[in-house]
């Protein structure tokens, strides 16, 4: 394939670079290319551990057209299978449910264990005959994707070729190791789902910059000035923003959420908000975290799955339920304030003369860092 020179203008320094060209946001052909080179070739978020809390829980998920089945086995381990029977390709599980024994295909009842092994192929050798010398059970387990759970997000590498998650994200895992603790989801109100008419990348780009805060989130900015924010940029890995003035939410009686254990001083007034490439957005603060999985539905449609987590569960701290409610409302307001910009940037990219845009060298580093990574992935895909 002839390499469009436009990506070279993305892969230069932020001072001179352009953003990714329009086609990366509005052209279904490029969307398909990014599906393979960017989303399937790296560790993408596809769901949350809290969606399958109990042993035997199974939840089907459509990820860019690939039918996945998220399963928690009897030992508590999470697996991500292709939700397709090895016999005639029937979808195995249509709706989230708890599986007591095995996953039974609804077509001819081949049965798979929660660890993916084929346990029975009834009548495969004729009626009442459950073996056949040419049907090797051990070779017919469910197709299993490499999966890794971090911050309750289930990451999957669809093409199987990415370096291990711990290796790819070693630097971020280290940066945030203080938050590697049990997270307690805040309950139904702490789940938000926003359907947005935008390419998934614009949601990443908007999330990782602080430039827009005073304009789009004046409420946030009233206590958080632009100069209290810093850029986070790790070339080829992740980017985002940090704040030096995180303030805990206080209830009417002055109550606050309990902190995560043993945090260093940095986090007393610190908060960090990072895009874990490609499609996961995380935020950590002393008393709660959040995780967002961007589900690209199509080139111009994205679903944002937002989940809030706390250091202590609602069962342990029922008196804080009203505060959790208030916190969920606050974040909902912030995330909704971003909708018009990501949808507006999407519309703007139908302007044929837009050249990808020119960055603020001081403010747009995190966005450019992401573009550079996307372009690198695409080039690698084209070269292979």
């Amino acid at each position: 394939m002839n390499k469009p020179s436009t990506l070279q203008s993305v892969m230069t320094s932020v001072n001179r670079a352009n953003g990714l060209p329009n086609a990366h946001y509005i052209d279904p052909v490029v969307f398909a290319e990014e599906r393979a080179s960017v989303l399937f070739a790296s560790w993408s978020g596809v769901g949350f551990g809290k969606d399958i809390p109990e042993p035997g829980d199974a939840k089907p998920v459509d990820f860019l057209g690939v039918p996945l089945l998220l399963v928690r086995d009897q030992d508590g381990a999470i697996h991500v299978y292709q939700n397709t029977c090895r016999h005639r390709g029937m979808i195995l599980v249509e709706e989230a449910k708890n599986i007591r024994g095995t996953i039974r295909c609804p077509y001819h009842s081949w049965c798979y264990s929660l660890k993916g092994q084929l346990r029975a192929a009834p009548h495969v050798g004729g009626v009442g005959q459950n073996t056949h010398e040419d049907v090797k059970m051990a070779e017919l387990g469910l197709v299993s994707f490499r999966a890794h759970v971090w911050q309750d997000v289930i990451f999957v590498n669809i093409d199987g070729k990415a370096a291990p998650f711990e290796e790819v994200h070693a630097e971020l895992l280290d940066r945030w190791q203080e938050f590697d603790r049990p997270l307690h989801h805040g309950g139904p109100e702490s789940s938000l789902k926003l359907e947005v008419n935008t390419n998934w990348k614009l949601a990443v780009e908007n999330y990782c910059e602080s430039y827009h805060l005073p304009w789009v989130h004046p409420g946030l900015n009233s206590y958080s000035r632009l100069e209290d924010h810093y850029n986070i940029e790790s070339p080829g890995k992740y980017s985002g923003q940090g704040t030096l003035v995180y303030r805990q939410l206080r209830g009417a009686e002055g109550e606050v959420f309990p902190d995560f254990d043993a945090l260093s001083d940095k986090w007393t007034t610190g908060g960090e908000y990072v895009a874990v490439y490609p499609n996961v957005l995380l935020g950590v603060q002393r008393d709660h975290t959040f995780a967002i999985v961007l589900e690209p539905r199509s080139c111009e449609q994205t679903v944002e799955h937002i989940e809030l987590y706390y250091a202590k569960s609602s069962a342990e701290t029922p008196e804080l339920d009203p505060l959790r409610h208030q916190n969920a409302q606050l974040w909902k307001t912030v995330f909704e304030e971003d909708i018009f910009v990501v949808e507006g940037m999407q519309k703007g990219r139908h302007g044929p003369m837009f050249d990808g845009g020119r960055f603020s060298p001081a403010m747009d580093g995190p966005t450019h860092n992401f573009h550079h990574w996307v372009a690198t992935q695409i080039e690698a895909g084209r070269a292979s």
Partner: protein, 89 residues
Amino acid sequence: MNAEWTQISPQEAAALHAAILAAHANHDLERLVELYAIAADSKEREGDVDAACFFLTQAFVFALETGISRAHELNRRLVAYGRAWPLEP
């Protein structure tokens, strides 16, 4: 059901058939295991191994699906007829 009987009557067979259909309709897996096992037992007593193994297979699959321990017993019977691989424990 009386173990002495070698055959169930046509009425009993019809009742069993109806009960199996009802259990399917209700997605009552435990009941399906029970009823298919009864059907298998009666075919076994008639000496109809093929039919017995058909019903044993049905019972086995629903036992596997529900995760009930009876799957192992049903599997052993099928294995004894050379009709299934042994389940690993």
